[in-house]
């Protein structure tokens, strides 16, 4: 245990502790949770040389302004984020994502905003000092589960860090992010509830990401999908990436903190390999869906895993 800690001078919009998530609990109503963008989460930990992917701070749109009140640490920000480091001697630098920086007592990090993306990640060497709930530090705000009494990070909070910086070496990743707005899906369990025309519409039209989007779900707006069987089903378990269509015919993609059980028909499921890409789409983005088969989805996921391992392996020391 170190005595190092940050103080929160501005909390940001939606700033929470997250890790890989919380499993084996969906039968009592707890969704997997965890970092929305898993790739950025993994790389963020690797850049500060954490051996395992441990808890980070996730922010959406606007991030926090943090001051290191005590100690010295090494930090990194991943995603596509505009941030500044304000050193104690008043020197200010524009930060680059995907590399580490050393911070000393009195330094501040001002995470201004994400650019053309929703989520960014802030990690520190050695991780944050947090209490786990059911083996995870992920925050589920809706149910007040996780560190900080399950709340978002707030103004004045003290953010404790496990260790002090061990050395001054910094590292950089060459991570790149896919820019496409085509999201690949598999047919959903109630695909045949929809008219032939609606199935065609779903795969040939754009759907706009609306403002009604958060960690629970992404509401889309586009041509109405017509249900020809029943607009409700017997409530059943929900999985991340399911695309449900309520009676109004507008699809909703269920995201990381989704309700665990739901009663709307599901037209499709986003493939695991494209999930991170999808959650980073900001309101106003026009996305389209492409149908593929299970085998291809599994292969794409393997490719994704290989690519993340490569990114982590290729993290290089700088300066």
């Amino acid at each position: 245990m170190s005595n190092s800690f940050f103080e929160v001078l501005r909390a940001g919009v939606n700033t929470t502790y997250q890790d890989k998530g919380r499993f084996s609990m969906q039968h009592i109503g707890i969704p997997p949770g965890g970092c929305a963008d898993n790739k950025s989460f993994l790389v963020s930990n690797a850049i500060v040389r954490n051996e395992k992917p441990i808890g980070v701070i996730e922010f959406a749109y606007q991030g926090p302004l943090l001051k290191l009140i005590k100690g010295k640490t090494k930090i990194a920000i991943t995603g596509n984020v505009n941030f500044k480091i304000i050193y104690k001697n008043k020197e200010i630098i524009e930060g680059d994502c995907n590399r580490s920086y050393n911070l000393d007592e009195g330094d501040q990090i001002d995470i201004l905003a994400t650019k053309e993306s929703t989520y960014g990640y802030f990690s520190v060497e050695g991780g944050f000092d947090l209490d786990t709930f059911c083996s995870s530090v992920s925050t589920l705000v809706k149910a007040k589960i996780g560190p900080n009494d399950g709340s978002k990070i707030q103004l004045g909070d003290k953010i404790k860090i496990n260790t002090n910086r061990k050395n001054n070496n910094n590292h950089k990743s060459n991570i790149s992010h896919n820019k496409t707005n085509i999201i690949r899906v598999l047919k959903g369990p109630q695909y045949n509830y929809f008219s032939e025309e609606s199935k065609k519409i779903f795969f040939s039209n754009f759907y706009k990401v609306t403002n009604l989007t958060d960690r629970m779900g992404m509401r889309l707006e586009g041509k109405v999908l017509k249900n020809i069987i029943n607009t409700n089903i017997r409530s059943e378990g929900i999985t991340k990436g399911a695309i449900q269509v309520p009676a109004d015919g507008q699809p909703i993609v269920l995201l990381t903190d989704h309700p665990t059980i739901g009663g709307y028909p599901k037209i499709a499921n986003v493939i695991s390999a494209d999930y991170d890409l999808l959650v980073q789409k900001i309101p106003g983005t026009k996305i389209s869906f492409k149908c593929i088969d299970l085998q291809e989805a599994e292969q794409l996921y393997k490719n994704r895993q290989v690519s993340i391992s490569e990114i982590i392996k290729n993290i290089k020391e700088i300066n």
Binding site: F23, S24, M25, Q26, H27, I28, G29, I30, P32, T132, F133, C134, S135, L140, K142, A143, K144, I145, G150, L186, G188, P189, R234, S235, E236, G237, I238, T239, K240, G241, A242, P259, T260, I261, G262, K266, N269, V270, I271, S272, L294, A297, E298, Y301, Q305
Partner: protein, 228 residues
Amino acid sequence: MFNKLNNIGDSAVVCDFGDEVNQEVNNRVIKLFHHLKKQSSLGNIKGILNCIPSYNKLIISFDLQKINSDKVINFINSIDLPSLNLDQDKKEWTIPICYDFGLDLISMSKQLKLDKEEIISIHSKSIFFVYMIGFVPGHPFMGDLDSKLFLNRLKTPRVKVPPGSVGVVEKFCNIYPYETPGGWNIIGKTPIKLFNNKDSSKPCLLSPGDKVKFKPISKEEFDNYKNE
């Protein structure tokens, strides 16, 4: 055993036990749920992330890095469910309820053409079966209510249902653990907590397959309960 076994997306499969919703079907769902949990904890199947029982389905999500749909489906197909003798820890609970907080009791009384007292008597004498838990943490879906009390959802759902509220729709009864929107007819309110976010080892009071009986309490007892 079950009617269909399919993939849902690339990292989950669903066992569909048919369209009927009754305790017999749900007991089979819960039996498979317990069996898979056990096999997963014994390491006989790797990569299972969540088993999610509902009325008539069991959905199993997994880590695509460790296993895939085909392997999970083969594993489930190799299980001889009827021959399993599982020692399921099914509990019976008595949950206090104060009917003075029944926000919809008057309108229920009109719709059902029954006195408030009769509604309360039928509800508090029923023994409920926990079909599943979910939507939000700790939220039980229970049945079966006497057909005399069958009602549809509210035409306009409430934006905020007070936590602890007990609702009924058709043959089902639920308890809202949090203040959430909701469209069920509110018959009363319980002072007990269904979900404890401080208890990592057993955060959720009820489990699928448990039985629940409601015990009427007065407003005064409700307040005392709250203060304990």
